[in-house]
């Protein structure tokens, strides 16, 4: 009874070693040809009648499965080596290094069949070219429409540039300063402690206008006209205008604060549900 148990233990250990070896081959850390397939099959056959429990049978099937993978790798190795153009790179490199340039040329010339090509003008192609030349219109006749009309220099006005949409109707800085003044007035009217709720300032009758105001507000903050005060626990955001724009903008590392101006939030603000 004792010896049977010991034999089973030995068999289990052997199967585990086989599995480990096969896994190493699958991972390409061991040469697949170090594996003697016949010996392994003998071991598997020898212990198979003793396996009764599901885990023992599972181990047995696992060993067979990994063995099959290792055999597949052996077959791939043979296949690759037997392809027509396979050469051992080390052997070939050795040959290349040892060969003299004359030997190298001698070998190459036996495998080299250079292309043959001609470059030659024929009477026919010359005659063809002459016919083409005869039919070709002079440049001044072919490209008259490409002549760019001469335009004299002149002076344009700001109104004309706005009309041509090259300039906006307000300079951005002017627009921003106007917006800053509006912020200060709103803080006086509706704000407290020199600040106003962010949404109460940017919120407008339409969602489009609200987005535009949020866009401008971001520049007010970036350019030092105002600052944000955030109360994370209460989830409240206030905007506070400065009396004078800060001059040290750009000298300090700034941080970006994303504020979602979504349609849903705008609707909530309209209904007075956005705190």
């Amino acid at each position: 009874m004792e010896s049977k148990k010991a034999q089973k233990k030995l068999g289990t250990e052997k199967l585990q070693r086989i599995i480990e070896m096969c896994i190493a081959i699958e991972n390409h850390t061991v040469d697949p040809f170090l594996l003697n397939v016949d010996d392994i099959i003998k071991v598997v056959k020898e212990y198979f009648p003793q396996w009764k429990k599901p885990e023992e049978l599972n181990l047995d099937s696992e060993a067979i499965h990994h063995l099959a993978s290792a055999i597949k790798l052996q077959s791939e190795w043979v296949k690759q080596r037997s392809t027509a153009l396979y050469t051992d790179p080390f052997l070939l490199e050795e040959k290349i290094t040892q060969a003299t340039r004359e030997e190298m040329v001698g070998v190459f010339l036996k495998a080299w069949h250079p292309l043959v090509e001609l470059e030659q003008l024929s009477l026919h192609s010359l005659a063809e070219a002459m016919r083409y030349w005869d039919g070709l219109l002079p440049l001044k006749e072919r490209w008259p429409e490409l002549a760019v009309p001469e335009v004299g220099m002149g002076i344009t006005s700001r109104d004309e540039l706005i009309k041509e949409q090259l300039l906006g109707d307000k300079l951005f800085s002017e627009e921003l300063e106007g917006y800053w003044r509006e912020l200060k007035e709103k803080v006086k009217e509706k704000g407290a402690d020199g600040k106003i709720r962010y949404w109460d300032f940017i919120g407008a009758d339409t969602y489009e206008e609200t987005v535009e105001r949020a866009f401008l507000a971001s520049f007010l903050i970036s350019y030092g006209y105002a600052t944000l005060e955030i109360h994370p626990l209460e989830e409240e955001v206030f905007i506070e205008p400065f009396d004078k724009p800060l001059a040290k903008i750009g000298t300090q590392q700034s941080i970006s604060i994303p504020i979602a101006v979504t349609y849903e939030n705008w609707q909530k603000w309209k209904r007075g549900e956005l705190d």
């Binding site: 027509a84 153009l85 050469t87 051992d88 790179p89 052997l91 070939l92 490199e93 040959k95 290349i96 290094t97 040892q98 060969a99 003299t100 340039r101 004359e102 030997e103 190298m104 040329v105 001698g106 070998v107 190459f108 010339l109 036996k110 495998a111 080299w112 069949h113 250079p114 292309l115 043959v116 090509e117 001609l118 470059e119 030659q120």
Partner: protein, 209 residues
């Protein structure tokens, strides 16, 4: 009727000769579909007759299939349409003759080494490795120039990661299998072939393409 057919083939052969010998595009050679369009669906037969005719001149019509996938059996018309056709030398050049076509022995040996090395590395090798190999026998200043020249001629190509590959001209001109077989079979020679050694002393620069 027979005479008429013969006449048609003779005229198609002439047309094929013009197309194959004279460069029509940036690269030499003609695509199968171009021949198909110019000569008709029986162009493989025309090329066969032309190849037979060129045999006596030691030339051949060489077919290079798309992506080097040479069909196992007889190629289909579609495969031929996608292939490229060239006229190449059928036999071999003697070392002396290589001079006539603008190759110095050093440059040709360098090309042979570069091609063989890239083949041995399964078709791809770092430029640095090829340069190291060539610099064992060629002066350093010449190595880079030579590799650039092989690339310019279409024997090699280089990617942005400085890897070298074989290019269209090698596929058209070099029998890769024969080259490797002969190289592996070659024994180190102690005496040089007289023709070659004579050639080795020549120092003329070849003309660039």
């Amino acid at each position: 009727m027979r005479k008429k057919t013969k006449g048609i083939y003779a005229s198609k052969m002439k047309r094929a000769t013009h197309m194959l010998f004279y460069r029509r595009h940036q690269k030499p050679g003609v695509k199968g579909w171009e021949l198909h369009k110019a000569l008709g669906a029986d162009y493989p037969k025309v090329l066969e007759v032309l190849d037979d005719y060129l045999k006596s001149l030691d030339l051949q019509v060489k077919t290079v299939f798309e992506e080097e996938k040479t069909p196992a059996g007889k190629p289909t018309l579609e495969e031929l349409d996608r292939a490229r056709f060239y006229v190449t030398l059928r036999g071999e050049l003697t070392p002396k003759e290589t001079k006539m076509i603008g190759w110095r022995i050093d440059d040709l040996a360098g090309l042979a080494v570069a091609i063989s090395y890239i083949i041995s590395k399964k078709g791809q090798a770092p430029r640095k490795d090829v340069e190291e190999l060539l610099s064992e026998k060629l002066p350093g200043w010449k190595v880079g120039i030579n590799i650039d020249r092989y690339i310019r001629y279409g024997y090699l190509q280089e990617d942005e990661n400085d890897q070298l590959y074989l290019d269209w001209r090698t596929r058209a001109e070099v029998d890769e299998k024969a080259l490797i077989d002969m190289l592996l079979r070659s024994e180190a020679q102690t005496t040089l072939p007289s023709e070659v050694s004579e050639e080795a002393n020549e120092v003329d620069e070849p003309e660039d393409e």
